[in-house]
């Protein structure tokens, strides 16, 4: 979960830990539903994505107001050995588009599996994939890329 969360969080390790904690909390509360789920892995992926969406809604466009200056997270800037170009490219993507990339290109899920994980239609997965790749190419230089299990 932590590995996937780090990718969904575009390299923000602190946010990734928060996402995992939020997802595990949801799983605990909904344990009966989780046990009945046909696809436990998809359920967990969905929980992570929902946690990311919740976090984005809470943070708001201009960030959360806080009583004290927050400790500077080193992952909001460039840290040693982090692929800054990749981080910037991923952060330019909306969360759902980022999730499509992670599930299709890293976890190598096919369109149907990705649609199940994101609770959307296969058509949406395909269009999100295409748009994500266009945005990525604007930030990264890599050869023509096809996801595994492309339909």
């Amino acid at each position: 979960m932590l590995y996937t969360a780090r990718l969904l969080a575009a390299g923000d390790a602190f946010l990734a830990e928060d996402l995992v904690q939020a997802a595990l909390t949801k799983l605990y509360i909904s344990w009966a539903s989780f046990r009945r789920a046909d696809n436990a892995a998809a359920y967990v992926r969905r929980a992570l994505v929902n946690a990311l969406m919740d976090e984005r809604r809470r943070a708001g466009r201009f960030g959360r107001p806080v009583a004290e200056l927050p400790e500077r997270s080193t992952t909001t800037a460039v840290i040693n050995d982090i692929d800054a170009e990749l981080v910037a490219a991923l952060r330019a993507l909306p969360p759902r588009m980022r999730a499509v990339l992670v599930f299709r290109f890293v976890h190598e899920l096919d369109v149907a599996q990705t649609a199940e994980a994101l609770r959307c239609s296969p058509g949406t997965v395909k269009s999100q994939t295409a748009r994500a790749l266009v945005k990525l190419r604007a930030h990264l230089s890599f050869p023509q890329l096809e996801p595994q299990g492309a339909q």
């Binding site: 996937t4 780090r6 509360i29 981080v87 290109f105 890293v106 890599f142 050869p143």
Partner: protein
């Protein structure tokens, strides 16, 4: 793996294996935090407010369908009653929760539900058809329901849960017998009180009372709580399947 995937994999990083000791410490810390949270919620709750409410509602012990909102099944009032501060115990004849058998509940209370090896017994509260306050301002529990309906909230209720001895620690204080089992009573009854019953060498059943009941009533209710052996065994072995070090 192409360059993009390799870069993504590096970004995801490695997840360092966690030692068995760290996992056990985390579990113990989490369960302690849950216990403390329940204690704080119970102590800051309005036990006397609950007593006043229950005294005005002449209902018998009933059970809902796990808090799903279906009408409660009726139960028969009667049976042994213990007199104390406005509450009396009645025989519980509603549907039994999974893993437990409950003999008595305070009059006006019902089995609200729980998770795994936990159980919450809560007062039935009458619902006004026209609320005079904005219900969106009502405090909600961790499951999102109003606190009074949330089995995860133990304020003003009776919480029952199994605890591993490794997490709870040795029982200290005067020992008593509850239903033939060794037990201790923690608290003076004025605020939150816990009745801890030894179910097995590794497992305790904790009854946490945030309602005004006498010592005798708490003991009677504890004696009438029967936990199925499968739940006790499961709690006893909760630390068994931790991943081993490579």
């Amino acid at each position: 793996m192409n360059d993009f995937r390799a870069r993504m994999d590096r970004l995801g990083g490695t997840v360092e294996p966690v030692s068995e000791e760290a996992i056990m410490a985390d579990i113990a810390r989490g369960e302690k935090a849950v216990r403390q949270r329940r204690t704080i919620r119970a102590v800051t709750g309005s036990a006397f407010g609950v007593a006043a409410l229950v005294a005005t509602v002449s209902l018998t012990g009933v059970m809902t369908n796990g808090g799903s909102g279906t009408p409660p099944a009726s139960a028969i009032s009667g049976g042994p009653a213990s007199t104390a501060s406005g509450l009396r115990l009645v025989d519980y004849t509603g549907r039994q929760p999974e893993g437990f058998t409950v003999d008595t509940v305070p009059e006006g209370f019902y089995v609200q539900g729980g998770l795994e090896d936990t159980l919450t017994i809560a007062p039935l509260t009458p619902r006004s058809p026209e609320p005079v306050v904005d219900p969106s301002g009502q405090p909600s529990g961790p499951s999102g329901r109003p606190a009074q309906d949330d089995p995860l909230v133990l304020e003003g209720k009776i919480g029952i849960y199994l605890e591993h001895k490794a997490v709870f620690g040795e029982l200290t204080g005067p020992k008593l017998k509850v239903g033939g089992k060794e037990a201790v009573l923690i608290g003076d009854g004025a605020a939150m009180t816990q009745l801890v019953i030894v179910m097995s060498p590794e497992v305790y059943a904790v009854l946490q009372f945030d309602v005004p009941m006498s010592r005798a009533q708490m003991i009677e209710m504890g004696a009438g709580l029967h936990v199925h052996q499968s739940l006790i065994d499961k709690r006893a072995h909760v630390f068994d399947n931790l991943p081993k070090k490579d």
